[in-house]
């Protein structure tokens, strides 16, 4: 909730005349503002041809909202020192930068719509607004914190030794050897079939792969914790149809690109270390359980490398090409396509200011990810309708049957986990379907209402925008 002072700072400035009931509205161009000293500004290395900065704004619940902002704009906003008005600052900036396109009106709109509500500037009359935590739509359907910063950070600092160069080289070589041994000598000839795992081995495999996934998360956390950080937590979530463990590494935005890449690959590096341990365990106690775990861990890692899902491969690709908000920018490319056929185009999208190689990468990514998601929706719909839904009641009946006839710990534990997993997957699929239906209806509604609400004059102006002005007879 905003306080009265905060609301006053957000609302357009008004001067109240005590002698008369009439309100005198003072244009905000003559108001003076202050740049919020709690806002942190640092350089952001990215693919843009314009110099960008990372602007970190403190928000409610000890969270931080991060923006990529053109450096020129921050230079302008930092001129607000509490004495200068919008007119002063704009003219001062434009004198120093003759090629500037900022006008008093546009800066004034920016301040009212963004800088004040988001706490970047504030009026002399009161403190800056502390905005609500980011309202960005999360990409996890369900999110639950498992390990807090106070626990993760010290452990992650300790594990940071695994990134020490000699250790990194040694373990890297062992990872390679373990994979060669497992896939060329141990697995062939053993007729392993993942569908055969049941009962106690299923429980063991599940526990070991979950522990490996947790270690994966510590890999990201350790890479981040090598530099000081204030927010590092590990949690559980549901992404598309996958139950996932996550680490919040948002502070990595302030790192140099190669440090961000290290955070991205840190998880895979740690999970690969588990393969070394499991190969060693197999020699000590040759149980196929360890081999199943190696296969499943490698499957999990290959899934993580898929750049179209927001997993390690996505962040790796985004950081290697310096494209922030890769998904958002690829959607912007798709949305921009119809505008290529219009004369009257809206605002120039950011991706047009990218360096050439990043722009090409973004276009290729857009085409491939569109194809991938179309395929994914078809497959997910097919599997949900024909396999998951019909088999779901049977899952419960076989669990209750096992409970009556063989109520062992492994049967109950394995059965419960299996039911929880399938339920989570089913909820994820149904939520995805519900969101898709909502979006389609919303899109159709906006499209139809937009067409119905246009007057004949508006229709004529749209036709003129598209076709150009009618020629005089």
């Amino acid at each position: 909730m905003q306080s009265g002072l905060e609301r006053a700072a957000v609302s357009p400035p008004l001067l109240y005349s005590y002698s008369s009931p009439v309100l005198w509205v003072v244009p905000n161009t003559v108001m003076s503002y202050v740049f919020n000293s709690r806002v942190s500004v640092r350089s952001l290395t990215c693919s843009s041809t314009q110099k960008q900065v990372l602007c970190e704004v403190p928000a409610q619940n000890d969270s931080i909202i991060r923006y990529a902002v053109p450096a020129s704009l921050i230079d302008l906003l930092e001129l607000f020192d509490g004495t200068r008005t919008v007119e002063d600052v704009t003219s001062m900036y434009n004198r120093a930068h003759p090629d500037s396109t900022y006008s008093v009106e546009s800066v004034s709109t920016l301040i009212q719509d963004f800088c004040i509500p988001k706490g970047i500037l504030h009026s002399q009359a009161g403190p800056p607004v502390v905005p609500e935590a980011s309202r960005q739509k999360g990409y996890l359907y369900f999110k639950m914190k498992l390990l807090p910063h106070s626990l993760v950070y010290p452990l992650a600092r300790l594990m940071g030794v695994l990134f020490w160069k000699p250790v990194f080289i040694l373990l890297g070589s062992l990872i390679l050897i373990a994979h060669v041994v497992a896939y060329f000598f141990l697995i062939p000839g053993r007729h392993l079939n993942i569908n055969d795992i049941a009962g106690r081995p299923l429980l063991d495999v599940t526990l070991i792969t979950i522990l490996a996934a947790l270690f994966h998360e510590f890999g990201h956390a350790s890479a981040l914790a090598r530099n000081r950080c204030n927010h590092l937590e590990i949690g559980l979530g549901l992404y598309l149809r996958f139950p996932v463990l996550y680490t919040d590494v948002s502070e990595a935005w302030k790192f140099a690109p190669m440090q961000r890449v290290l955070v991205d690959i840190g998880g895979l590096y740690f999970q690969n270390i588990c393969v070394i341990v499991l190969t060693g365990l197999f020699f000590w106690h040759p149980s196929p359980t360890y081999l199943y775990c190696i296969i499943l861990i490698d499957m999990s890692m290959s899934l993580s490398l898929n750049p179209f899902l927001r997993m390690d491969g996505y962040w790796l690709l985004a950081d290697l090409f310096g494209i922030y908000n890769l998904r958002e920018q690829s959607i912007a490319v798709l949305k921009y396509l119809p505008q290529l056929f219009r004369r009257n185009r809206s605002v120039r999208p950011q991706f047009l200011d990218m360096k050439k190689n990043s722009f090409i990468a973004l276009c290729v990514y857009t085409v491939l990810s569109f194809t991938f998601f179309t395929y994914l929706v078809i497959i997910a719909t097919y599997q949900t309708i024909f396999y998951l839904l019909p088999a779901y009641p049977h899952l419960w009946s076989s669990f209750f049957s096992a409970l009556r006839h063989e109520p062992s710990f492994s049967n109950i534990g394995g059965g419960l986990f299996h039911i929880a997993w399938k339920t989570a997957v089913l909820i994820g699929c149904l939520q995805f379907a519900w969101r898709s239906v909502q979006k389609t209806i919303g899109f159709l509604w906006r499209w139809i209402s937009g067409h119905l609400s246009r007057t004949p004059v508006e229709e004529l102006s749209i036709v003129r925008e598209v076709n150009g002005p009618a020629k005089e007879a």
Binding site: I65, R66, Y67, A68, V69, P70, L73, S106, T109, L110, D113, F114, P117, S134, R135, Q136, G138, L140, I194, N195, T206, T209, I210, H216, E217, H220, Y239, R241, F242, P243, V244, L245, Y246, T247, D248, V249, S250, A252, V263, D264, G267, Q271, L296, M299, S300, L303, S304, R310, M311, W315, Y324, N325, E328, V347, Q350, Q383, Y387, L388, H418, V425
Partner: protein, 40 residues
Amino acid sequence: MPEDKKACDQTLEEFSIMELDERLEFVAWCDDCSCKPKTA
């Protein structure tokens, strides 16, 4: 979409400002292979 958010989004687009994504690095511990039909 509320009007104030719409206005804010338009302004951000106009000034080439972008709210950066929350970076959640995550891993699924297993592809849901049990979704596939069981082999005989």
